[in-house]
C-alpha cells in the first residue's frame, strides 16, 4: 500500500466520518494532533471511536481501548504507521 495515498485516504476518512465538512482533507497536517480539545482538529473521544471503527471496516485493523493502539490515533502519520505495520 502506498503510504502517500494511504495518508490522503485517511484524511478524507477523518473528514467524512467526523463530518468536519468545512475542512479540506489536504489541509490536515500529517502530524496534527487529532484528538483532544487542545489538539489541532478538536475531535473528541466519540470521534476517536468513530474513526477507529471506520479504520477497522476499511483496513481490517482493530483499534481498541488499549494504550498501544490508542497511540495510533495520535496523528495521520501514527495511523498510517499502525495500518502499514504487520
Amino acid at each position: 500500500m502506498d503510504r502517500e495515498i494511504l495518508k490522503r485516504d485517511l484524511k478524507e476518512l477523518i473528514v467524512v466520518e467526523c463530518q468536519k465538512n468545512h475542512i479540506q482533507p489536504d489541509r490536515i497536517g500529517d502530524d496534527d494532533i487529532l484528538i483532544g480539545s487542545s489538539g489541532d482538529l478538536g475531535l473528541d473521544s466519540l470521534d476517536a471511536l468513530q474513526i477507529a471503527l471506520a479504520v477497522k471496516k476499511k483496513y481490517g485493523k482493530r483499534i481498541d481501548g488499549g494504550k498501544a493502539t490508542r497511540m495510533a490515533l495520535k496523528s495521520v502519520n501514527s495511523l498510517a504507521d499502525f495500518i502499514l505495520a504487520d
Binding site: D44, L46, L49, L53, D64, G65
Partner: protein, 378 residues
C-alpha cells in the same frame, strides 16, 4: 408538591421473576453476571450481561409478551382497583430500546428468506410495550412513552407523579422495560463502554455491565397510611457532551438541589446512586454529590446486582430499593473495589439500618439528561 402513594410493584430482573424474590436475593450476596454471545456479527462479541432467568432464548422479543403483563399483574394484585379504575389507568413507560427486537427479527428473517422487498425497521414507533401493559391492566387510558436514555423510566415516574398531583388521574401505572437485543449490545460494544465487572465508584472501574429488567409501579393520587410515598423530583440537562454530564458535577448538583427544594426535603437518610461504573459517569455523579451534601448520606449502588437496565432502571431500582427499605436495611456491596481518591465517595460495603424518612434516587443519562426523585419510607 403533593406526594403520591406506591400501591403496588412488580419486577423481573436478574434477581428473579417477582419483586419479593428479587428483594430477597438482594440480601443474599453478590451476583455474578451471565455471559452472552452476540454471534450473528462477522466477529462475534462475548460480554457480561445480567439476564432475567426466564428460560427463553435471549434475543426473542416475544419475551416481552410474558414479562410485561406479568409485572403489571403483580403491581395491580392486591391494589383492589375495580374495572372502571383499571379502564382509566394511564400508562407511563420508560425504555431505551423499546421493542426493537421485533424489527431485528423480522428484518433478519426477510433477508434470510432473500425476500426482494426486505427493509429495515419494519416495526417502528414505541407503542408495542405500552399496549401489552394496557392489555394486562384492562386499560384504555392515555399512554406516555419516555425515551431519554438512562433517565427514561425515572422521567416516566416524575411525569406520572405530577399528573396525579394535579388531579388528572386517580391512579397511574408506570412501567420500565428493557430486554436484551442485538442493537443495544452491539451499540454499546461499538462505543467501548462495556466491562466484565460493574464496580461503581471504584478505582478499578472500567465500564458498565448491561442487564435486562421489566418492572411496574402502581401509583395512587391518594396515599394511604403505610404507603411509601413518591414526592416527585426534578429533571434537567446539560450541554457538556452527547454522552455524559459535565464532570465538574454542576448540572448533577443542580438537579439534586432542585429535587430536594421542590419536595421540601431537608434531610436525606440514604441515596440510591446511579453508579454505573463508567469512567466519566461516576465522576460527574460523585462531584455533584459532594457539591450537594456536606455530610454524605449512605450511598447504595444497585447495578452490581441487576446490571444497568438503561431506560428501565428508574422503575426497576425503585422497586428494589423500596423492598430493601421495607426490610429496614440498606443493601451493601460485597466488593466495592478500591475507593477512588479522585471521586471521594464510595458505595456502602456494610448493611445499615434504613429509618423512616426520605431517600434520594439518582439517574443520569446520555445527552446530559439528569433526574432525581424523592422517596419516603413511612
Amino acid at each position: 408538591m403533593h406526594p403520591v402513594g406506591i400501591r403496588g410493584v412488580g419486577l423481573s430482573c436478574a434477581l428473579g421473576l417477582n419483586a419479593v424474590d428479587c428483594v430477597t436475593r438482594l440480601f443474599a450476596g453478590a451476583v455474578v453476571p451471565d455471559r452472552l454471545r452476540l454471534d450473528h456479527v462477522a466477529e462475534p462479541v462475548e460480554l457480561s450481561y445480567y439476564r432475567i432467568p426466564d428460560d427463553a432464548p435471549p434475543f426473542d422479543p416475544r419475551r416481552f409478551e410474558r414479562l410485561v403483563p406479568a409485572v403489571v399483574r403483580e403491581a395491580l394484585s392486591g391494589a383492589g382497583l375495580d374495572e372502571d379504575e383499571r379502564r382509566r389507568l394511564p400508562v407511563y413507560l420508560g425504555s431505551s430500546c423499546f421493542s426493537i427486537g421485533y424489527s431485528e427479527s423480522h428484518y433478519a428473517a426477510a433477508l434470510a428468506a432473500q425476500a426482494p422487498d426486505a427493509f429495515p425497521m419494519p416495526c417502528c414507533g414505541y407503542g408495542d410495550l405500552a399496549e401489552l401493559a394496557r392489555g394486562a391492566a384492562g386499560s384504555v387510558g392515555p399512554v406516555f412513552l419516555y425515551n431519554t436514555a438512562c433517565t427514561s423510566a425515572a422521567n416516566a415516574l416524575l411525569g406520572a407523579q405530577r399528573a396525579l398531583a394535579s388531579g388528572r388521574h386517580e391512579y397511574a401505572l408506570v412501567v420500565g422495560a428493557e430486554l436484551a437485543n442485538r442493537t443495544t449490545l452491539a451499540g454499546f460494544s461499538s462505543m467501548q463502554l462495556l466491562a466484565q465487572r460493574l464496580l461503581p465508584f471504584a478505582a478499578e472501574r472500567s465500564g458498565i455491565v448491561l442487564g435486562e429488567g421489566v418492572g411496574a409501579v402502581l401509583l395512587s393520587a391518594h396515599p394511604e397510611a403505610g404507603d411509601y410515598l413518591l414526592h416527585g423530583g426534578a429533571n434537567n440537562c446539560d450541554s457538556h457532551s452527547v454522552t455524559t454530564a459535565d464532570p465538574r458535577g454542576e448540572s448533577v448538583a443542580a438537579v439534586l438541589r432542585q429535587a430536594l427544594d421542590i419536595t421540601g426535603t431537608e434531610e436525606v437518610w440514604g441515596i440510591r446512586t446511579h453508579g454505573t461504573g463508567s469512567g466519566a459517569g461516576d465522576v460527574a455523579e460523585a462531584a455533584g454529590l459532594r457539591k450537594t451534601f456536606g455530610a454524605m448520606p449512605p450511598l447504595s449502588a444497585l447495578k452490581p446486582w441487576l446490571g444497568h437496565t438503561l431506560g428501565a432502571c428508574g422503575v426497576n431500582e425503585l422497586v428494589l430499593y423500596r423492598g430493601a427499605l421495607q426490610r429496614g436495611r440498606l443493601p451493601a456491596l460485597a466488593d466495592a473495589g478500591t475507593p477512588d481518591p479522585e471521586l471521594g465517595v464510595q458505595a456502602l460495603t456494610q448493611q445499615t439500618d434504613a429509618p423512616s424518612g426520605r431517600y434520594l434516587l439518582n439517574h443520569f443519562g446520555f445527552g446530559g439528561n439528569n433526574t432525581a426523585l424523592v422517596l419516603e419510607r413511612p
